[in-house]
């Protein structure tokens, strides 16, 4: 070693001046993987995505030419206007919404206590777990003939189908939510003298509530997917019934209007649950 090289060399004098700008090092990504977008940026990008989709659809529909079989979005809007304005579609929407809310309410009332107790007490889980897991794999639609025989073609049959469609998945997810409670929180409560019931009420339940609400929100979306199936059989009101009627007269625009309505209703209920989450669990939404 005749001469020592410094480990960190100072930039040669005048280096910054040669290129005109200060030199930079490191590789910048134009899009960061975990980038946090601002509210306006997100809304704008979302709107751009939706507009692109609608535009492609509109143009595609006109290029195809058969507007009755493949109506453009503008045609769907007109159909919606007609449905709500002249055909009392609001009542159909209300009938469907009521079915969803009642059936989902039944599913939640059954699954919430069971999910809490089965998640908290291993013996209960051992008793019911395999049964619940097995039931998850039964397609709810397979129950339709059974429910028709047992409950007739009335409202009960539809509610039963909608309930069975979600209740087993809901229960499984709620049990998982309950199992995710940190053991240290339970141990802490025990060292402060809490008994079994007190732990359940003052630790497990409040610790699980936010996850429960999230699970309910996600399973509500699944509930809507069974709606049309439930309303196909001997039904006069509801979004699904309207769509079946429209099919008979090849009113494709009305069928699409029904699909859009279901999507919008799902989105609205999703928003309600998000708001509930925000209001009920403020500590999870603190800006630090």
């Amino acid at each position: 070693m005749t001469h020592a090289t410094p480990h960190i060399a100072a930039p040669p004098a005048g280096a910054a001046l040669e290129g005109g700008a200060a030199p930079t090092v490191g590789r910048q990504l134009s899009v960061d993987f975990k980038q946090v977008l601002g509210g306006t940026a997100r809304a704008t990008l979302g709107a751009v995505g939706a507009l692109l989709f609608l535009l492609t659809w509109e143009v595609g529909s006109h290029l195809y030419g058969q507007l009755q079989l493949f109506p453009p979005p503008s045609g769907v809007v007109v159909a919606l206007w007609r449905l709500f304005g002249e055909q009392g579609f609001a009542w159909d929407v209300w009938a469907s919404l009521r079915r969803i809310l009642v059936s989902f309410g039944i599913a939640a009332v059954v699954a919430l206590p069971l999910g809490l107790l089965m998640g908290a007490f291993p013996p209960l889980r051992a008793v019911g777990g395999p049964l619940v897991s097995a039931c998850r794999y039964l397609p709810a639609t397979a129950f339709v003939p059974l429910f028709l025989m047992w409950l007739g073609a009335g409202e009960e049959q539809k509610l039963a189908l909608l309930t069975v469609g979600v209740v087993f998945f809901l229960l499984t997810l709620l049990i998982d939510n309950t199992l995710a409670v940190r053991t240290e929180l339970i141990d802490t409560a025990r060292t402060l003298g809490a008994g079994r019931r007190q732990i359940l009420r003052t630790v497990v339940l409040p610790a699980c509530m936010p996850a429960y609400v999230d699970t309910l929100r996600q399973m509500l979306a699944v509930g809507w997917t069974y709606l049309v199936v439930a309303e196909i059989v001997a039904t006069t009101d509801g979004i699904g019934a309207m769509m079946m009627r429209a099919k008979r007269f090849v009113h494709v625009d009305e069928i699409l209007a029904g699909i859009v309505t279901i999507g919008v209703m799902g989105l609205l209920l999703d928003g309600v649950f998000r708001l509930l989450h925000y209001r009920a669990f403020p500590w999870l939404h603190h800006a630090r």
Partner: protein, 290 residues
Amino acid sequence: MSATGVRPELRVVTDSAPPSPDAAAEAPPGVPFLAVDGVGKDYPLRGGGSLRALDGVSFAVRPHEICVMLGPSGCGKSTLLRMVAGLDAPSQGSCSIGGARIVGPGRDRGMVFQSYTSFPWLTVRENVEYGLRLHGETIALAEGAGEYFLDRVGLTKFANHHPDQLSGGMRQRVALARALATYPRMLLMDEPFGALDAETRWQMQELLLEVVTRERMTVLMVTHDIDEALFLGDGIVFLSRNPGRVREILRPDFKRNGRPATKEAMYDAPGHRELERHVMQLMRDEGKRA
């Protein structure tokens, strides 16, 4: 701010509540308060057989004493502390407090865990009062007990915050105040300051020392930090591993005339340097054995 100074009295309504916090003081001096007697712990191994985590551990803690368990990682410190808390059961031997065998957790033994255990859905004040509210039927909620301990750990201003809005050190102070608020006979702590940065850590150590001295608490705590053990421990139980056994029980001589209030005071105390070297030597020995 009215909570400073006087500790609120706990009014015990029924006899199922714990003895008054000064019960320990009634024991004659020299009589052990906590007795760990020939404790062993075996963990079953998956392939059959078992792992002996602890073997024949015996030591005693006197009233109002801070006992520190020190030892290399994996020597069974947490296991032993959980058994004293009643969260795990020993495979051999037993632990007893005030002559009664420990069979489960109870509010006579408050615990501070290494990880954050504040209840995130409760405010700081509600966290601190949690233990008291649990026993609302048996203890008339001590007027201002929450306020008092919030003040002792310096969190009065943050009483209505949620734990997620606090720093790590503040969260451990919440846990400490919560454990103290039920007036346990004994405070158990498993590396309570392990996750804190150096500065917060020694501030917390000094705070702990002040509160514990003032409240005349009996403490059993775990650490693997030599400095922390020397600063806080009236007695130090050094454990060796594979299996966990008591290697040596040390009593810092420089604390004969009272605990040093600050780290600096401890560093200046005669005999501190020698004891520190001795403990380091023990640690090095353990390292070689592993």
